[in-house]
Symmetry: C3
């Protein structure tokens, strides 16, 4: 609000300000003694009638006229007198309208955008910043935002021609217009749009920002369980919640890329639910949640160049076609490692903000320069046992606390999916039990999620996954039957795969006492079906640990990859990969993962040398009962 | 129609019913002596004016008033008198409007939904059930259906807010509103919407159902040819026709999944044509055929988990976004076997109805629990010689008999595509000849369909396939040229493939006198082009049968599969597969097909053992001149 | 314009023409003494009032009436008198309106379609041909075109019913109606639509055609550089420019299929920019560029059956659903060879016009029957050194000369991408330098394009590619950073690939002195990443040429393919392929390319025989210092 009224400014007669009343201004916005820009709307014998706004007009008597005017001419007048009957007397002032600095007058009836649905048919003025500009075949649609809401404003210059080309995204403007119902939601038909700069801009922006900051503030929630280790992460999660809420308030699309496994889904789905609820609260358009939120599982355990290229391509198209901002990227259960850097660098060219919530071992130095926020237990001396699903359930509640009741079983599912040995698992299991989920139910959900995700390939499939996770699912029976069906199919398929694979597993006892099992997953497992090689290897490993006790290493290998699992051995897979890279010429070794579980790639022609060297390194590893294959990544 | 008029109900003075007239009601709907809910619309010195409906209003004289009322207040009045000049006299009745059970009065001018396009601008009432509910940014759109048609009714509560939240899909309602032309088609702007229950609901539902049952009834058609064996299937096909027509009348989307071969296309395309015609007849929206019918060829000869997951995902999205019902699934030339059960179980969680028309050897016990209807010649002691194309041409005619003339050549094409040795083939060929298609033309169409389907991969490509099949194609010359082009390309590519493959075919004469031919289709055939391995093996087999005479077995094998063809040998492939599963440990054998033709899968590392065991079994098989590779399934 | 006015035609009293005035006609279109079709709109004591058009009406006095008429009846009247006050006198003429040949009268106020946006609200008439017919749920939308523009005309018969079914695409019509603003752009609400035939049709068509021919004419541009060799191609390029502009004026969609490499992108992107600009100029709908232009990179170096089947399928759908014409196909940096003929034959069935701009060695006899235009340096005795990018920059300028300044560096990028040794390269490099691009910058752009194209797979990704090429990119810094990022990633990935591959490269010196290098790209290169086998082989070859000097041959082979590069040896790869086809039985050899660079395919089982025979042929080749691996095609 520029709050100066006309009269105050008009007191200096030598350098007088001329006001240009917005069309919606009334006599309340004007004051005797001030100068105004006026337009002639009638010429009579005894003078000219002039308009200062739609609602402010009157006569300049010929005795007060300096020049000759025709209808449509502009002139500067002094408002001499407002008579009791409301008539206004003006006097012509000898100033050239074109060489005068005008100050737009802000009518006193500025309204909150959030309240426009109650003012259909009225002429109003709003102030705010421009958060989207879309050119249609007809008018230009500018989305105007203040601290209370966002409204589309339709400005028409000519068919398909950009109106107010001087106004850019993020400019602060004042729009006066009629509130119309467009598809049932309020829309402003623009009479006048003024771009602010200088102090007026700063004033409005500060006011809008203050309201938005308040609105972006995450909800103050109590954690689902008391867990001191987790507390160190809360501030980071609040920061992410704030940035996600801010993106929604900024009309900036949010793109979630998440690990396509159980923990990744337990993390991403609650966030989707919470953010979509908040979008629906902020944006009148019921399609807004679909336009402003997109979630995709990632094929690889990092953000691949192919994926980022494709995402960027679509984002640039949406920018061009719909005037959408480039999105904010939120990496979930993924995104902490050096392997993500190429993708981040690509996004950096386009100033796409990036947030990460992950519990994989991070390369903070490599990724930090690209991230606006990064929540990861390793950054606080904790580890993968705090799963991303556990973190993101709290995050989702900070964004929309009303969904808490639906989420109480989700951290337990996430923990079971990633085999978390966190101390807090018992409490999470208790919490789930109170919500009606026994341990067996949760195990079934884990299997069902894994199976559904496999067959969805890399589609997001939110409805099916939500039904399996019993999130935003209004049919308890459907959830139970679906989980029963999917989990029993998953277990049967694993059973069949292992029955075929086990006769071909090679066993050898290493010098350090480790049992080493090797399986050619390309030749002795069914291809292109469930379970995939990573899962097959993991299930085989678990059986062997149970059968033989520690220490056990299992290798599932294909033509150009090997999946590694170990229990009770102090492996350091990232280090092994580095060593192999220097020791074996021309093997193209890459990959890694965690200390005791991971996967590596190589060129097919060097498989034998790589595996042989790998086993040698395993043989040299020390035993350590504490180390377990707890965190799987299927490739 | 609830037929009671007000006066009748008003005769008991101790427990009187109060009527709430719908806005469209006229004086004909009211009666002297009955009680009505009224709203005050004017207060004058001598009384208050009240409205009972848009068209029924009058004065309650102050002498008849019990209380003090303001405009907008509700009260209960007795209709005392209808004067000759049409004026109505009311008396205030001392009842609390809020504690009174009201009965909605049905105006007498209920109209048929099918006739609304002639009543643009009128206020009317319709009764029916709700077949779709879609929330837009503005109004809620409820699709109302009676026995004569379906109309969208727009109800507005607030922008994007669900109007009449108490009304669910399939509820019976009465809607009063103005008929407006929306995009040229009639739409009701809702003034009042009442949900019926109890007797009124039953009455309306019974009336709508009776009309719909009549409308869903399949056309009574004469079969294209007389064929006693086929007669046993007609009743099942009529049942399917009725269910498909009912789905259209229910606004339920229809999803066809069909075998991606010649017979499958000859079956699915006529059904698509007939159903889309019927949709266009029932639904005003010209986009309805596209929204309500979707046909996809299946990659595998059964409904794979990946496909059903994807289909379900899309269906759940359409349900959420467009308020569409979940679809009815119609499996065509597919769907009879145990391999389909996992997909059916997945759909069963969502109560998706399933119909099957197939001529592959069924597992009726396995699939029956999931099917609403199943037409299959084996269920009547007939066999694959009655092809699915032959069945579905009759089915399509039951849905829309007007397309008969376009379909006369299609059963012959279907029969040739599946090499049917049915006695009726001659008659079908004669029928095709009368329609202008010689045997050579039909053979060309078969090749052209196969070639086009290959390059379409698993897109549906209806226009191209229709042109090749000369179905709904208005350009005879285009059809002929296209078939000529596609079939000659197909033959040339087969020729080249076999020229490369034949030098590498291994021949061996088994002890039982069978010629066994083996081809490594991975290493000695072009990859990723036409013809694919199944077709390559089949064509090779046919040549060898011609060259050498019976008995012949041909095996085309790749890394993890083998395609089997045989003539003159009593193979039992499904049984062989079962035996291999138990005899060879860790081979992951699956598959099957028909007795003498099929395909099997195994893990690549066990290929040699599997093929060796397979050949041993073939050597042990008896010869049988009657058995032929007539029914192919390309994998 | 049919220019006859009514009076002239009415001079022959024995065989008088009867005029049927269009609704928009005024008195200026009528003349005393002529006969008109009239409709009774009022019956009074002293006669009947009749309408001849919306604006022409009057009384037929009872003294001048022959029959009895009711409101709505039609009759033929003579216009007897136009009085000074504007009143008109009529006389009933005893002719049966139904048996009279009527001639539509063209009001004198025919307007240009291009000027309709200035006539919102007026009733006007336009003449032109029909370029699109789309049936909506409401009206039928016919797009009418004259020499100045295209306007949609909405004709309503009944909801979803085709209005004016007698009017087909390309018919010449006259439309009278009200100009309304539809989504801001002008649209005609049709009052009357008349199809012309005979002389009237010819006259209008000739007039429209003349204007369109003039408008389709390419701009007269000066070539960017003086280059005599190039001059021979200009006429062909002008022909293509004219045909592309004509397609835009005809509302015919344009489909560009281009080689997915640097030169192909440097060719296709400028054309896209120019054509989209021209579409925006001609069509009011801002979505028109998106609907009428589509560009796709091709996977193979020719138009594959799979691609053409898919493209045709979409085109047939657009025809059916949106009433769009089938597209014009423009093949860019592709399309000259016999391998394209199957696709062309498929399109030929549907009369899709095809244009080609290519610099690969053509098979003119094979492709000519299918092409409307073919620009290729080989057709003029020049060769691949004139790259397609160089040609298409000139082509784009002929379509829209305003983009010249943005394109000055593009021919140099195209030339570097294809390693052109053209004499003109120096001049192109100078031109680029003047525009601010040093040689290093251009090399970086080449690498960046290659890398981006790889990760886009076969999506078109115009925004990303335009930013990399700095075409239509408004952010110079973004361009520079993006190119820097992409090119350095590309170089690093090539470096890593070669570091792994080189230890496994087999070297042998052939008897003719050639160094032969062989690399198993399947087993000794990373798979499914950048660089792909073709690029890997090319980069290896370049290093070996630098290391060893000429002559060098490099073979990168996979299971069923080999990529060939050579310098300083007179290979004739197409000829080698032919020889291998006849010499080695059952090897399925195909492929080819250029004399000294290319690729071949074979069945995997015959790889050893094929490679051995190939090397023998290489050993027999003569050395020739001039021959270089300049033109690459990655497979």
């Amino acid at each position: 609000m520029t709050s100066s009224t006309a009269g105050e400014a008009g007191t200096d007669p030598t350098d007088r300000v001329v006001y240009d009343l917005a069309p919606g201004c009334t006599l309340d916005d004007a004051e005797e003694g001030a100068l105004y820009l006026a337009t002639v709307n009638g010429v009579v014998e005894y003078g000219v009638f002039v308009d200062l706004s739609k609602h402010v007009s009157g006569l300049v008597h010929e005795s007060n006229l300096d020049g000759e005017y025709a209808v449509g001419d502009e002139l500067i007048v002094e408002l001499v007198e407002i008579r009791e009957n409301g008539d206004i007397g003006f006097e012509d002032v000898d100033l050239d309208p074109d060489s005068t600095d005008r100050t737009a007058v802000i009518p006193d009836d500025d309204v909150d955008i959030g309240g426009l649905s109650g003012r259909i048919g009225e002429t109003v003025s709003v102030e705010g910043d421009v958060v989207q500009i879309k050119q249609t075949a007809g008018p230009t649609i500018l989305s105007i935002r203040d601290g209370t809401g966002i409204v589309p404003a339709a400005a028409f210059e000519a068919a398909g021609v950009r109106a107010y080309p001087e106004v850019d995204l993020d400019d602060v403007v004042r729009v006066t217009g009629t509130v119309e119902a467009h598809e049932g939601a309020p829309q402003l038909e623009v009479d006048q749009l003024t771009r602010f700069d200088g102090a007026a801009e700063r004033e409005v922006r500060a006011s809008v920002d203050a309201e938005l900051r308040a609105r972006a503030e995450p909800a103050e929630t109590e954690p689902l369980i008391e867990w001191p280790a987790f507390e160190t992460l809360r501030e980071d999660l609040e920061d992410i919640a704030r940035r996600l809420r801010t993106a929604v308030l900024d009309s900036r699309p949010i793109r979630v890329r998440h690990h396509a496994d159980g923990d990744g889904m337990c993390a991403a789905l609650p966030v989707q639910l919470a953010v979509e609820n908040f979008i629906a609260e902020v944006h009148a358009d019921p399609d807004a949640p679909r336009h402003l939120f997109k979630r995709s599982p990632s094929k690889a355990p990092f953000y691949e160049m192919e994926d980022v290229t494709r995402d960027l391509n679509f984002a640039l198209e949406d920018e061009e076609r719909h005037g959408q901002r480039l999105p904010l990227l939120f990496m979930v259960d993924n995104g902490s490692t050096e392997e993500d850097v190429p993708a981040y660098r690509a996004l950096d060219q386009y100033d796409v903000p990036i947030l990460v919530a992950d519990h994989h071992h991070p390369d903070p130095d490599a990724v930090a320069p690209f991230l606006e926020a990064h929540a990861n237990p390793y950054l606080h001396g904790e580890d993968y046992r705090i799963t991303t699903g556990m973190m993101c359930v709290e995050l989702a509640r900070m964004i929309d606390p009303s969904i808490t009741d639906d989420l109480e079983h989700v951290p337990a599912v996430a923990g079971l999916a990633d085999r978390s040995k966190a101390d807090a698992m018992d409490e999470y299991l208790d919490l789930a039990a109170e919500a009606g989920y026994e341990k067996d139910d949760l195990d079934d959900i884990v299997e069902a999620l894994d199976y559904a995700a496999h067959w969805l390939r890399y589609q997001s499939g939110p409805n099916l996954i939500n039904d399996a996770l019993n999130l935003d699912c209004d049919d308890e029976a459907r959830h139970r039957e679906l989980v029963d069906f999917l989990s029993s199919r998953a277990r049967r398929d694993v059973e069949e795969q292992l029955a075929d694979a086990e006769p071909h597993v090679e066993h050898e006892q290493l010098d350090n006492g480790t049992h080493l099992y090797r399986l050619d997953v390309e030749n002795h497992a069914r291809r292109f079906t469930y379970p995939a090689p990573g899962k097959t290897t993991g299930e085989l490993h678990d059986r062997k640990v149970t059968e033989t006790g520690d220490p056990v290493i299992t290798i599932g290998y294909g033509p150009d990859f090997a999946v590694l699992r170990s229990d009770g051995v102090r492996l350091d897979i990232p280090n092994m990969v580095s060593e192999l890279q220097t020791e074996i010429e021309g093997a193209g070794v890459s990959g890694g993962g965690h200390l005791v579980v991971g996967s590596i790639k190589f060129v097919p022609g060097m498989r034998e040398s790589v595996l042989e060297a790998l086993v040698e390194k395993m043989e040299a590893a020390e035993l350590d009962e504490e180390l377990r294959s707890t965190l799987l990544r299927d490739d």
